[in-house]
C-alpha cells in the first residue's frame, strides 16, 4: 500500500543521528572486542575476587543512594505541593535545579569543604562523635554526594507529576472533606506511584554510572565502583585485559538493570496539562504544616550547604592569581570551546531523534506495533545510560591506542561523548514541547504542504526556541563540568577545567581547587540562568 506521505525528511535526519550514535557506541565495542580477543586468557583471568567486590559495591552504593534520595524526595515533593504559598517556594525550587547544573567535581569539593576532615563542620562532627572526625571519604561521602544531586532531581520530578493532578480532583476532595491521609492515599499516591519506577530507575542508573563522585570521594579499593576501576586500569595500571573485563561487567550490569526497570514499567506518566492556578483547596492542619515546613527546611539546608561551602572556600582562594595563570586560561578556553560544540551536537542529535520518533509514530497505524526504527528513535538516547561515558571512552581508548596518539584525539572524544551523554537531558527538555507542537500543527502542515526547512524555521522553531535553549544550556553545563572522558584522554596539552581541578586536588593544592570549583560552578550556573532567560524572552 503506497502511503500518501512523501518520505519525511525528519525520518532521514533521525536515521543519520542514530547512525552517528551507533558509530560512537560500535567503535567502542569494537575496541573492546579486539582487545579482548587479543588477550582472551588475560581478560578471563581478570574476573577475580577483586572484580566481584567492586561490582558488589557498585550495586550497593547505588541502591542505598536511590533509597536515600527517592524516599525523602517523595515527602518533600508532597510537602511543597501542599504548600503553594510556602515562603521562598520559588527560590527553593530554583535552588533545587542548581545541582543539575553543578559539575560533580564542584559538588564533591563543596561536600569535602563542609564535612571533610578539615571541613567547616569537622569540629562539630568531632564533638558529636567524641574523638577526631575522620572525614567523609568512602561510602558515606559517596552517599551524601549522590543524595545531594538526586534528592532535588527526584523532588522536582515528583512535584511535576503531582502537578498533573487535575484541579477538579482537589475541589472534589475538599468538598468531600477529605483529610490529609486519605487525600494522600487516594489522590497523591496513585500519581506518585506511577512516577516512582521512572524516577527511582533514573536515579539508580545515575548512581551506578557515577564516576566523578566515586573518584573524588571514594576511598581506596574498599569504595570503588566499576567505572573508577576501569579508569584506574587504563590510566594507572595500564592493564587492558582488566579494563575489558570491568567494562563488560559494567555493560552487563547496567543492561540487566535497564531491562528490569523496563519490565517494572519505568515509563514516566504522559505529559498532562499543568493546572493554571496554585491549588489551595485542601488546607493542611497545623501539625502537618509544621512537619512539612521542617521537612522542606531540612532538605533546603542539605542541598544549600555544599553550595554555600563551595562559595565560601572558593572566595578564600587567591582568585586573582588563579585567573592570571596561563594553565587556567587555556583550560577555560578549551572547556568553553568543547562544551559549545558538544551542546550544539547534542541538541541537533536530540531534535533529529525526537522529530523522527514523532514522524514515525504518526505514520504508524493505531494499534500496530512500533517498528524497529521507531523503537531506536524512542530509546536510542537511553543507550547512553546503558553504555556510560567511561565505557565509551575506554573502548575508543583501546581501539585507537595502536593506531594513533590517543591523547591527540581528546577533543573529538570529549565533544562526541559529552554530546551523546547529554542527550537524555536534552530530549527530556525538548520532546514534550515538540510533541505538543506537532499535535497542534501536524495536520495543518500536511494540508498546507509546509515541510522540511520551511517547517523547521517557520513553525517548529518559534515553539521550540525555549526548550531548545534549555536543552542546549543543560548539555553545555553538563559537558563543561564533565570529568569522565577527559579523565581518560586528558593530558598536559589538552586540559579542561575539571581536569585541571582534579590535578590540583591530586597535588593537594586545595585552595586552588576550591577557587577553580567556584569559577566552574558559577559558569555552569550562569549558563543555565541565561539560557532560561533567553528562552522565556523569546516566548513572550
Amino acid at each position: 500500500m503506497a502511503t500518501p506521505h512523501p518520505t519525511d525528511s525528519r525520518i532521514t535526519a533521525g536515521i543519520v543521528a542514530l547512525g552517528a550514535i551507533a558509530i560512537l557506541i560500535g567503535g567502542a565495542f569494537a575496541g573492546l572486542a579486539i582487545e579482548g580477543a587479543h588477550d582472551l586468557s588475560g581478560a578471563a583471568a581478570a574476573f577475580d575476587g577483586y572484580l566481584l567486590r567492586v561490582a558488589r559495591f557498585t550495586l550497593w552504593q547505588a541502591a542505598l543512594s536511590t533509597l536515600l534520595s527517592v524516599a525523602p524526595a517523595l515527602l518533600v515533593a508532597r510537602a511543597l505541593s501542599r504548600h503553594p504559598a510556602f515562603p521562598g517556594r520559588r527560590l527553593i525550587l530554583q535552588l533545587f535545579t542548581v545541582p543539575l547544573a553543578l559539575p560533580a567535581i564542584v559538588a564533591a569539593l563543596g561536600i569535602l569543604a563542609l564535612y571533610g576532615r578539615a571541613g567547616y563542620f569537622a569540629g562539630v562532627l568531632a564533638g558529636l562523635g567524641g574523638g577526631e572526625w575522620p572525614g567523609i571519604y568512602g561510602l558515606s561521602g559517596i552517599l551524601v554526594a549522590h543524595v545531594f544531586f538526586n534528592l532535588p532531581l527526584a523532588t522536582r520530578l515528583f512535584l511535576e507529576s503531582l502537578g498533573t493532578i487535575p484541579a477538579d480532583q482537589w475541589r472534589l476532595a475538599s468538598q468531600l472533606g477529605m483529610s490529609a491521609r486519605p487525600a494522600f492515599r487516594l489522590i497523591e499516591w496513585p500519581v506518585l506511584r506511577a512516577a516512582l519506577p521512572g524516577v527511582a530507575g533514573l536515579v539508580f542508573m545515575l548512581c551506578i554510572t557515577s564516576f566523578t563522585i566515586v573518584l573524588t570521594l571514594g576511598g581506596g579499593p574498599a569504595a570503588t565502583t566499576l567505572e573508577v576501576a576501569i579508569y584506574q586500569a587504563l590510566r594507572f595500571d595500564f592493564d587492558p585485559a582488566r579494563a575489558v573485563a570491568l567494562t563488560l561487567l559494567q555493560i552487563a550490569l547496567t543492561f540487566i538493570v535497564v531491562v528490569a526497570l523496563t519490565r517494572l514499567g519505568a515509563n514516566a506518566v504522559g505529559d498532562a496539562n499543568l493546572p493554571l492556578a496554585p491549588r489551595r483547596y485542601l488546607s493542611a492542619g497545623r501539625l502537618e504544616s509544621v512537619l512539612n515546613g521542617g521537612l522542606i527546611v531540612l532538605a533546603l539546608l542539605f542541598v544549600a550547604g555544599p553550595m554555600a561551602a563551595t562559595v565560601v572556600s572558593g572566595l578564600e582562594a587567591d582568585l586573582g592569581r588563579l585567573a592570571g595563570e596561563e594553565a587556567v586560561r587555556r583550560a577555560t578556553l578549551t572547556s568553553a570551546g568543547l562544551a559549545l560544540l558538544a551542546a550544539l551536537l547534542s541538541v541537533t542529535l536530540s531534535l533529529a531523534l525526537i522529530a523522527a520518533r514523532r514522524a514515525l509514530a504518526l505514520r504508524r497505524r493505531a494499534g500496530s506495533a512500533m517498528s524497529l526504527l521507531e523503537h531506536a528513535a524512542d530509546t536510542g538516547a537511553g543507550f547512553v545510560l546503558v553504555v556510560p561515558p567511561i565505557v565509551l571512552g575506554a573502548g575508543w581508548f583501546l581501539a585507537l591506542r595502536s593506531i594513533t596518539d590517543v591523547f591527540a584525539i581528546a577533543p573529538v572524544m570529549v565533544v562526541a561523548v559529552n554530546a551523546v551523554m547529554a542527550m537524555p537531558f536534552a530530549i527530556r527538555a525538548i520532546r514534550p514541547a515538540y510533541d505538543a507542537a506537532s499535535e497542534r500543527h501536524e495536520r495543518l502542515c500536511l494540508a498546507l504542504g509546509i515541510s522540511g526547512w520551511t517547517r523547521l524555521s517557520l513553525i517548529d522553531w518559534p515553539s521550540l526556541r525555549r526548550p531548545l535553549a534549555t536543552g542546549f544550556a543543560f548539555a553545555m553545563a553538563l559537558s563543561l563540568g564533565d570529568l569522565g572522558v577527559i579523565a581518560l584522554f586528558g593530558s598536559d596539552s589538552v586540559q579542561t577545567l575539571p581536569y585541571l581541578l582534579l590535578a590540583r586536588m591530586g597535588s593537594y593544592r586545595t585552595a586552588d581547587a576550591a577557587g577553580l570549583a567556584l569559577l566552574l560552578g558559577l559558569v555552569c550556573l550562569m549558563l543555565v540562568v541565561v539560557a532560561d532567560w533567553l528562552g522565556r524572552e523569546g516566548k513572550s
Binding site: 503506497a2 497542534r440 495536520r443 494540508a447 509546509i450 515541510s451 520551511t454 517557520l458
Partner: protein
C-alpha cells in the same frame, strides 16, 4: 474570477468517490462506498465513533485506507500527499498557528514558505475582507474570538481555492447565533465558488440550514444518503430519525422555518 472556455466557473467542484474503502483504527473498522456529487453541500451526520471525521481524513489524506480507492474528479489520489490534493479542510480547532499573525496564517494558503509578494498580500486582504475580518491582518490568533479564528481559516480556504471543502465540525464550539452566521458564510462562499462541500455536524439544524444532501453514518459505514429534504421528512431513514430523536410533527413542521435556501 476566471471562467473557462465553456463558460463554467473555474472553481467548480469535483466529485468525490470512495470506492470500496476499508480502514481500521484500533478496535474500530470502517467501510465506505459513496459518491458525493459536484458542487453539492453534504451534511455528514451520525453518532460519535461512527466514522465522520475518519471519512474526511481519508479524503484529505491524513489517513491511508487499508483497501479501496479515493477518487476526486475521477482520478485516484491515493499517492497524492495531503497538500497536493484538491482539498481544503477546516478542523474544529488548531486551524491557525498561534505564533503567526492573521495575515501570515492566511498567506500560508498561497505560499507554504510564506514568501508573499505584493499581489499575494492584496489577495490575503481581500479574502479577509470577504470573511468580515478586514483590517485585522496584524492580529495574533489569541487576540481573536473563537468565531473570528474560524473566519481566518475560511479566508485561507478562499485563498487556496480548492474544488473540495471539508469541514470537520468547525463551528461546534460556537454559540447558536454565531454558528448560523458562520454557516451562512460557508453557504455564501459555496454560492460563489461552487465547490463540493462535505461538512460534519451533530446539529440537525445545521444540516437543515445549508445541507443539500445528508449522509448518515452508523457503525463505520454510510447507512443512508440522499437529499436533505427527504431526511427531515417523516419518511426519513429510521436509524437517522432515532439518532436525531423523533420530534414528531416538528421534524417536518420546522422545515419551512429553519430551512434557508442558498
Amino acid at each position: 474570477m476566471t471562467t473557462t472556455i465553456d463558460g463554467t466557473a473555474a472553481h467548480k467542484g469535483l466529485t468525490v468517490t470512495l470506492d470500496g474503502i476499508a480502514f481500521s483504527y484500533g478496535e474500530s473498522s470502517f467501510r465506505f462506498d459513496a459518491e458525493f456529487a459536484v458542487g453539492r453541500i453534504t451534511a455528514i451526520m451520525g453518532p460519535s465513533g461512527s466514522g465522520k471525521s475518519t471519512l474526511l481524513n481519508l479524503i484529505a489524506g491524513f489517513e491511508t485506507p487499508d483497501a479501496g480507492r479515493v477518487l476526486i474528479g475521477g482520478i485516484d489520489i491515493g499517492d497524492t500527499p495531503p497538500s497536493a490534493r484538491p482539498v481544503s479542510m477546516v478542523f474544529q480547532e488548531n486551524n491557525l498557528f498561534a505564533h503567526l499573525s492573521v495575515e501570515a496564517n492566511v498567506g500560508l494558503g498561497r505560499s507554504p514558505s510564506l514568501k508573499l509578494g505584493k499581489a499575494d498580500r492584496v489577495a490575503v486582504a481581500e479574502a479577509l475582507a470577504r470573511v468580515g475580518l478586514a483590517g485585522k491582518e496584524k492580529r495574533l490568533p489569541r487576540e481573536l474570538s473563537g468565531g473570528e479564528r474560524q473566519r481566518v481559516a475560511l479566508a485561507r480556504v478562499l485563498l487556496r481555492d480548492r474544488p473540495i471543502l471539508l469541514l470537520d465540525e468547525p463551528f461546534a464550539s460556537l454559540g447558536p447565533a454565531l454558528r448560523e452566521d458562520m454557516l451562512d458564510l460557508v453557504a455564501g462562499i459555496h454560492a460563489e465558488r461552487e465547490m463540493t462541500v462535505l461538512f460534519v455536524t451533530h446539529q440537525p439544524e445545521d444540516a437543515r440550514r445549508i445541507g443539500q444532501d445528508v449522509a448518515f453514518l452508523d457503525e463505520g459505514t454510510i447507512a443512508a444518503a440522499g437529499p436533505a429534504d427527504d431526511f427531515f421528512d417523516r419518511s426519513g431513514p429510521d436509524a437517522f430519525r432515532r439518532y436525531i430523536g423523533d420530534q414528531g410533527g416538528t421534524v417536518a413542521g420546522s422545515q419551512h422555518i429553519a430551512r434557508k435556501r442558498t
